[in-house]
Subunit: 282 residues, 2 copies
């Protein structure tokens, strides 16, 4: 997936969100004049996530802080509270795997690269009832049943509380789950700290990908992670960033993408309405 003209207003909106969350709006000139050289160097034939990786790296350098640190922690807590309520839906479901998968997709609404606040309870409730626009659940269930190990690429802090519910179920089903977080903070993506905060480290192996990239840009991840990735027989990939950066892998690897299409550009690429929920195999 390539950069699209409509990505540019969004790139700069992300910078504004970072400034606002850092309470550093008065430093916007340094940030805006710092990120434009990064975008000038960017390769627009690569994914938007690729371009914004360098942009967010620069923002963190200029502001000398992780703008999303507090909001990540806040949403880990809020999502864990909400999750207790929604977990009951999983245990009382006729098909717990289906309900837990929906819950994991619903949790993907927590994304501070795009929104500035999310009413988790209301949004997840809606998402649990709404249609899945692209639904490869039958194949997903089959692949999970026959898999021994599953590599689970996490996306955002907060959201990982919902992933935890699905991972717990997968572990109960006897699967050997390895969950993957980012190696360094970037946007509101989950790192090891978030995995600890949400207790994910207590229920499965959690590794980091050695990278501060948005999504999973394989050649920028650590050799250790790439080794795990290459060996994985089944990959669950969460979020739009992972979809953008791994969609070309979809033919080569056994990957299911669980996410919501949260921007016009990705929705157009998918030929689906904005805010569609997807459980997609390419």
């Amino acid at each position: 997936m390539k950069v699209h003209p409509d990505c540019f207003p969004c790139f700069f909106r992300q910078a504004v969100i970072a400034l606002r969350l850092s309470r550093a709006e008065e430093r916007f000139e340094a940030v805006m004049k710092g990120i434009m050289p990064e975008l000038l160097k960017a390769d627009f034939s690569k994914s938007p996530a690729h371009a914004t990786t360098f942009m967010h790296r620069r923002i963190r350098e200029i502001l000398a802080t992780d703008p999303f640190k507090k909001v990540k922690s806040d949403y880990n807590r809020l999502a864990m509270e909400a999750c207790v309520r929604f977990s009951e839906a999983v245990s009382s479901s006729d098909d717990p795997l289906f309900t837990a998968s929906r819950l994991a997709i619903a949790g993907n609404i927590i994304d501070f690269g795009i929104f500035t606040s999310v009413d988790i309870g209301a949004t997840v409730e809606r998402a649990l009832d709404g249609p899945i626009a692209c639904d490869n659940y039958a194949a997903f269930r089959k692949e999970i049943e026959k898999a021994g190990g599953i590599l689970y690429l996490l996306d955002n802090a907060g959201e990982i509380a919902f992933d935890r519910t699905l991972i717990e179920l997968l572990v109960k089903m006897g699967k050997d789950v390895t969950a993957v977080v980012k190696g360094c903070p970037v946007l509101n993506d989950a790192t090891m700290e978030d995995a600890r905060e949400t207790g994910l480290t207590d229920i499965c192996r959690v590794v980091d990908n050695g990278s501060d990239c948005i999504g999973t840009i394989l050649d920028m991840t650590s050799p250790g992670f790439r080794n795990i990735y290459e060996k994985a027989g089944l990959v669950i990939s969460k979020g739009q960033g992972n979809f953008e950066t791994l969609m070309d892998e979809g033919k080569r690897k056994n990957i299911f993408f669980l996410f919501q299409s949260k921007c016009e550009v990705v929705s157009r690429e998918l030929a689906l309405p904005l805010k569609s929920m997807l459980l997609k195999r390419l």
Copy 2:
């Protein structure tokens, strides 16, 4: 008025609109990589209109066309059709000057720097009924009554059909009106061609300001225009761009600003809701 962080997504949205109207979206890389050096050089302590003047100049150079040429002509025609209907409201009004002024403010909704299409009829109808959030009409009427000459700074193509209705009335009231268009195309701002298309040249003197600036950046206008401006006893300034660039003149000159606050940044500066209608003296 200074550049604000929220201006940046909007700057790039303007570039996307220009690309789309030129049917040149495939050339977005050249445009985006062409405008960023302009924005890097920009003085953010000046108005947003100042920064985007250089940006739009570069867009026209790169695309070797005026992206807004067709839409300007289309909206001149549509506005002239709509205007006939609304002009009756002026002639049947108890206070024709008030109604014609409202109509001129209502017409300011036509702005392709911000929107990509406008339902003129419905929007103007709404604007004619809606409240004027900042209403210095009493002073405006008084100043017009005592003025001999009036300098009328136009804003957008299309919109000038509505200005024509007000100017016609001012001429009928015996005022010597000089209407001002841009010296070169920029965004969808009115030029001499638009003044001719809407018949404005038949009812008053129309001069150009010798500039391709968004709004009126005095030190970038022609000496001829500056001479007229300096001598003017009463100025009617249309649109947000003119407000941004002339607000510091508001104390020195006798200016009334007739416009709608079409963006969050200007609305916040004014402490008014978005889409407020204003007839404002500073």
